[in-house]
């Protein structure tokens, strides 16, 4: 039997940043070009999970030809999850590959509970083949592996796939290393909506503007973003296709148009519109058709979010005198109050399994991320920063990405849902990073 279980083709869906013709008149405002100034995010890990699996990821012979060290990226990915500890392995001679016979006792004495071996070979067509295998050195088991063919440009994407494989085999849930995040960088008076790998690297600019961009949200298929842009001197909701850079207006009614949220099937957007007075929740099709009003109050109703099962819309309302989180049936109907502690609870976000609600709470003047268990109604604050905004669950529900401020700068922070493990991502070249949104799993 072939030692390598699956042959996979790595796809690298680069986004295109093009100026659609219908928006040409905005050319003076919008600079939809390939990123001029790189705004790479740098990562700082400020905590760790209680139990981390010691893993040896041995450098793959031949990987130098790829330009990027695949094994280094795999190691960094696994460590960033807070669930692994990468072991330093001195150069071995001869360098072992996935086809080597593993001496489990030797790897146990190097304190490794898990081991990744692999190799990189150049193909005749100029592409490369990466093969690897994962071993459980405690149970002395071959946990299989994968072979990928890839171009040099796909080295990072391939490394994230390998890290996802290792994570899923050893942790028992899907890894998020191949997913992407969206966020807004503000530098001077320039705003850029960027897309990056979950590790903050490989960033690309989807939209650049001299007016603010807020509230990006990923379509369930990960191909489009809805967001609010102020380029028309007032908030307008757009849907932006990442592959071809095409933008369509989803909501541009008289007044303000904001707070988009995708329905789980991607067929609708819930939005906040002021076209009938006040701020009320409506649904629209992503092309702007089929407008339907959901709330009818004299209060503020905004920040709608669908529950993952599509049954409920959670939202922020001050109908009780202070901003609190409510929910109502997706088809409309009597809202029920969800949060009760404190006088400011906003920005509801459901976990992917629908069991937890993350939101921002004002706690003694500090804005922090709280997590509410919807079954037992227990809530706890899981951050210790004081200007948190826009929480966003990783698609496996393990981490929450958020925007906060440290040292006067807007940064992104990720905290594990149990609050134990934190990391910070800031723009290496300066500027404020804000409005994060973690994208879905992509197959």
């Amino acid at each position: 039997m072939n030692a390598v279980a699956i042959i996979a083709q790595v796809e690298n869906n680069r986004i295109r940043s093009l100026l659609p013709r219908r928006f040409a008149f905005l050319a003076c405002l919008l600079l939809l070009v390939a990123p001029l100034a790189r705004a790479q995010l740098s990562i700082e890990i400020t905590g760790a999970g209680a139990q981390r699996i010691p893993i040896a990821v041995v450098s793959f012979p031949g990987e130098a030809a790829l330009g990027a060290s695949i094994t280094q990226i795999v190691r960094a990915d696994l460590e960033r999850s807070g669930l692994f500890r990468g072991l330093e392995i001195p150069p071995l001679s001869p360098p072992p590959t996935e086809s080597a016979k593993v001496n489990y006792a030797e790897w146990r004495s190097r304190l490794a509970d898990a081991l990744v071996l692999g190799s990189v070979a150049a193909r005749a067509d100029g592409r490369f083949e990466v093969r690897f295998k994962l071993f459980d050195t405690v149970k002395q088991q071959d946990l299989s592996g994968v072979a990928y063919t890839l171009s040099k440009e796909q080295a990072r994407a391939t490394a994230h796939r390998i890290a996802d494989f290792v994570y899923e085999k050893l942790i028992g849930e899907k890894g998020v290393f191949s997913t992407r995040i969206a966020y807004v960088v503000k530098r001077g008076n320039r705003f850029e909506l960027q897309i990056a790998d979950a590790d903050g690297l490989g960033e690309e600019t989807a939209l650049a503007s001299f007016e603010p961009i807020i509230s990006p949200v990923w379509s369930p298929d990960g191909k489009r973003l809805a967001y609010v842009s102020f380029e028309a001197k007032r908030p307008v909701v757009y849907v932006h296709s990442l592959l071809d850079g095409k933008r369509t207006v989803a909501a541009n009614f008289r007044g303000s148009n904001s707070a988009p949220a995708w329905s789980p099937d991607g067929s609708k957007l819930a939005v906040c519109l002021s076209r009938e007075g006040g701020s009320q929740i409506f649904t629209v099709n992503p092309d702007g058709s089929n407008v339907r009003r959901l709330t009818s109050s004299t209060a503020i109703d905004t920040e709608p979010r669908y529950s993952p099962d599509g049954q409920w819309i959670y939202f922020t309302s001050d109908r009780g005198g202070s901003p609190q989180i409510y929910r109502m049936p997706t088809s409309g109907g009597e809202p029920q109050r969800v949060t009760f502690e404190g006088s400011y609870n906003v920005s509801p976000r459901l976990s992917p399994d629908g069991k937890m609600l993350a939101y921002i709470t004002r706690n003694d003047g500090k804005f922090q991320v709280a997590l509410l268990d919807l079954a037992n109604r227990q809530s706890q604050i899981i951050t210790d920063s004081d200007r948190d905004e826009s929480p966003s669950f990783s698609p496996n529900g393990r981490m929450i990405l958020l925007a906060t401020v440290t040292g006067g700068r807007g940064v992104l922070s990720a905290v594990s849902a149990d609050g134990r493990f934190k990391q910070r991502l800031s723009a290496a070249s300066g500027g404020d990073v804000r409005e994060p949104a973690w994208g879905p799993f992509i197959d």
Binding site: I214, S256, S258, C272, E303, P323, S347
Partner: protein, 179 residues
């Protein structure tokens, strides 16, 4: 009424034209400024107005001596009511809209930076809606005014203290041609 308005307008224009006249560099010795010359000669000026507002009335919107040039209403923290000190300003703009039915206005509500960006969009909307409601009660027509919100996104002051925040909690009034 119309004649009076035209006469007033002509006077205002003459005044503005006089102000705008640049001194001729080749002119002889300066005149005694304490004693104005008896006969002021000015070239007639045909006004061209591209502001969208009717006639030359729009000039008043930019005249620093006119209350119509005041365009910002500031608020207390978490408040949406127009304070007494801004009532004359709102009344003047409502009167302007009433007297110039083709004039169009955009009111942008703004908040300070604290709290959720989207919730702040809704709070800013409540501020601009409040000003719009006042103006329509004072006789401006609903379709003359659009109220929108910029939330916390367009601060007037960049600081992170009450001094800055108090400048950012505001409604701004713009007329067509200005946005």
């Amino acid at each position: 009424m119309r004649q009076i308005a035209v006469a007033a307008l002509t006077t205002a224009m003459l005044f503005l034209a006089a102000c705008a006249t640049t001194p001729d560099s080749s002119a002889p010795a300066p005149v005694d400024t304490a004693k104005p010359p008896a006969n002021v000669q000015t070239q007639p000026v045909k006004p061209v107005d591209v502001t969208g507002a009717p006639g030359g009335a729009a000039a008043a919107l930019k005249d620093p001596k006119n209350i119509l040039s005041k365009r910002s209403i500031y608020y207390d923290y978490d408040k949406f009511d127009v304070k007494d000190e801004y009532r004359a300003l709102v009344e003047a703009h409502a009167k302007y809209l009433r007297e110039n039915p083709s004039a169009r206005m955009l009111i942008q509500g703004n908040t300070d930076e604290r709290g959720s960006r989207e919730y702040n969009v809704a709070l800013g909307q409540r501020r601009s809606d409040g000003v719009k409601r006042m103006m329509t009660l004072l006789g401006a027509r609903e379709n003359q005014i659009e109220s929108v919100s910029l939330g916390e996104e367009k601060p007037q002051a960049e600081g992170h203290n009450e001094a800055a925040w108090s400048k950012n909690r505001r409604s701004d009034i713009l007329y067509s041609g200005e946005y």
